[in-house]
Structure formats: structure tokens, C-alpha cells
């Protein structure tokens, strides 16, 4: 049986973290930096929403503003953390041994596994916008790893591209999860077919408008659907950009 929910942009959890005061060791930046985070699922103090979706536990829509804004280096285990940079430049440092700079279209998969630290920072004056996703792994305490790739929006205009998952050119991760992206400048309609009835699909509108089955989703709205044989998606006539996360439930 098909089941779904729609989450409007304004219904998400919201945190505004500043680099001064009690969070000074957690949030980087000087003299004052502001980090905002809209959470689709429960995270930190946000407990009014859904606990997650399938293997997805965190879906954060984040903006780092001000010189040096970000998260100081801190420890993780197990979670597979992905970042998709939308605007600005993200500097990512991790204890796997990477110092990486990511610009719009770039994305990474950092699997913390048996233990790894990372730092996320915006070293530029312009705001950095990124989507952060955290997935549970399919095995505990895997060797930590880091891979990165680039989504070329121009070359892939009006095509659904697999960014993460089991596909040519996609980053792999140790979980039954696929992340795809469609950047369109005209109306694009298609049916998305989940791998099975026990897979759920989370559609998140980065920009523009998307018709998802019977729902119309505006910028930063989202919908989760499961138990569906296919999901009908249609982008609006203006420029639209959407992320699709398919996950085992």
C-alpha cells in the first residue's frame, strides 16, 4: 500500500548557531559567524518531526555565514556523512587524511566507521550552502573512508543522475541507498521506480517546483513515499533542482 508524507520547508527543525558564547568550541568562525540548519528529521534539540526515513537519519539544509564559519573538528563513528555543496566553497578536513575544497556540484561521502574526525568550514566571505545527509551503515565499525565526486549540472541538464549508489560514475557507500539529482530548465516528467516495495523515496526540492504524485512541492519542500511501484515526478517549467534519496526501509 502506498503511503506518503509531505514536509513543507517551514515545518522543518531550525537551529541558528553562533561562534561566540557556549558553542564557541563547536562552531568555528571569527569574529562572529552564524551557522543555520534546517533539519528534515529529528536532530539535536529538534524533536517535533520524524525520527528519520529508512537508513537516513539526518537531512540538514545548512548555511555557513561569516569568515571561518563551520564546525570545528569533532569525532564520529559509524555514520556515513554526505555533503552536497550548492553555493560557495566548503573546506572539509578529516582524519582519513583529506583536506578537500568543494564548490557547487561537488559532493563527498565520509564514512566514519570505526572512528574519524572531521571539520567543515567556509573560509570565504560568501555564504556556503550545503545539504548534509547521514546514513546508518550496513556494518558497524568499518574502516573510515572518504570519496568525492562532482555533479555537472550543465552537462546533465534535464537528466536524472545517480550521485551515490550502485551506478556508473556514482560514489559507493556501504548501505542500500541511492541519491540522485535532477537539474532542469524545462518541464521534465518521469516515473521513478523504487527497487522494491520495501524501499522508500525521499524527494527534496532544492530549487523551483516539482509535482510529486498528487503533491506540488515548492523550494525546500519534500515528500517521503513508500510502498509505491512508481512515483510520478514532474518539474516546473522554470529552472528546478531536486534530490531523490532512495533507501531501504
Amino acid at each position: 500500500m502506498k503511503t506518503s508524507f509531505v514536509m513543507r520547508a517551514g515545518a522543518r527543525g531550525y537551529n541558528k548557531l553562533v561562534s561566540t558564547g557556549p558553542l564557541a568550541t563547536y562552531v568555528s568562525g571569527h569574529p562572529e559567524a552564524v551557522l543555520t540548519r534546517h533539519s528534515s528529521f529529528n536532530f539535536g534539540p529538534y524533536q517535533a518531526g520524524r525520527p528519520g526515513f529508512g537508513r537516513l537519519r539526518v537531512f540538514g539544509d545548512e548555511v555557513f555565514s561569516g569568515p571561518g564559519c563551520g564546525y570545528n573538528i569533532h569525532r564520529h563513528h559509524n555514520f556515513i556523512i554526505c555533503a552536497f555543496v550548492l553555493q560557495g566553497e566548503l573546506t572539509h578536513i578529516n582524519t582519513v587524511g583529506n583536506i578537500d575544497q568543494l564548490t557547487p556540484g561537488d559532493y563527498y561521502v565520509f564514512s566514519a566507521g570505526s572512528g574519524g574526525k572531521h571539520c567543515e568550514v567556509n573560509l570565504k566571505n560568501d555564504d556556503m550552502h550545503a545539504i548534509y545527509m547521514w546514513f546508518l551503515p550496513d556494518q558497524l565499525l568499518l574502516p573510515p573512508s572518504y570519496t568525492r565526486n562532482r555533479f555537472d549540472a550543465l552537462a546533465n541538464r534535464n537528466r536524472l543522475v545517480t550521485l551515490v549508489g550502485n551506478a556508473d560514475g556514482a560514489l559507493r557507500l556501504s548501505q542500500d541507498v541511492t541519491v540522485s539529482r535532477l537539474s532542469s530548465d524545462t518541464e521534465v516528467g518521469f516515473d521513478y521506480t523504487p527497487r522494491s516495495a520495501s524501499h522508500g523515496v525521499y524527494v527534496f526540492v532544492l530549487e523551483g517546483e516539482v509535482h510529486c504524485n498528487d503533491a506540488t512541492l515548492a523550494r525546500r519542500d519534500s515528500s517521503g513515499i513508500w510502498g509505491a511501484e512508481r512515483i510520478n515526478l514532474r518539474t516546473g517549467p522554470q529552472e528546478s533542482d531536486l534530490l531523490i534519496v532512495e533507501t531501504a526501509l
Partner: protein, 84 residues
Amino acid sequence: MNEDLKRYICLGCGFLYDEALGLPEHGIEPGTRWADVPENWACPDCFTPKHRFEMVEIPYASGEPHLPRLGPILPPPEPSLHVI
């Protein structure tokens, strides 16, 4: 391993609490049930409170957990009396 023993993951950072292993360095003995971990206990890595952990049924990666296994205490070997 007792199959009834559960694993719990911190939703703030991914830190793992395995009932089978406990956290001896934090005074929590192996075999301590999650329910018996003090309610005011928090994640040692990120201070997320206990109620923000989630029970997971995820197997370990090959070779993990990489901790000394506590086997039965064996008597010391008999001294050998070989005359060289």
C-alpha cells in the same frame, strides 16, 4: 555472544554502546543492559543524552569489534621440569 544483547547508536555522532561489551573505562561492565545504564549518562564523545540513542540491529564489520576479548581465566601453566 548472547543474541539478546542489543546495540545502541548515538544519534548525535554515531558512538556505539554494545551491551555485550559495556564501557569498562566508564565503569559500565560488559553485559550491562541499556536499561541499567544510568539515565543521566551521556555520549562520551558528543554528550548527547541517553534518550537520543537508537537501538540498531547492524552486524559488525569483519574483524570488529577490535577489543581484547575477555575469555575465561585459565590456571597458570604447570611449570615445566625439563632438565636440560
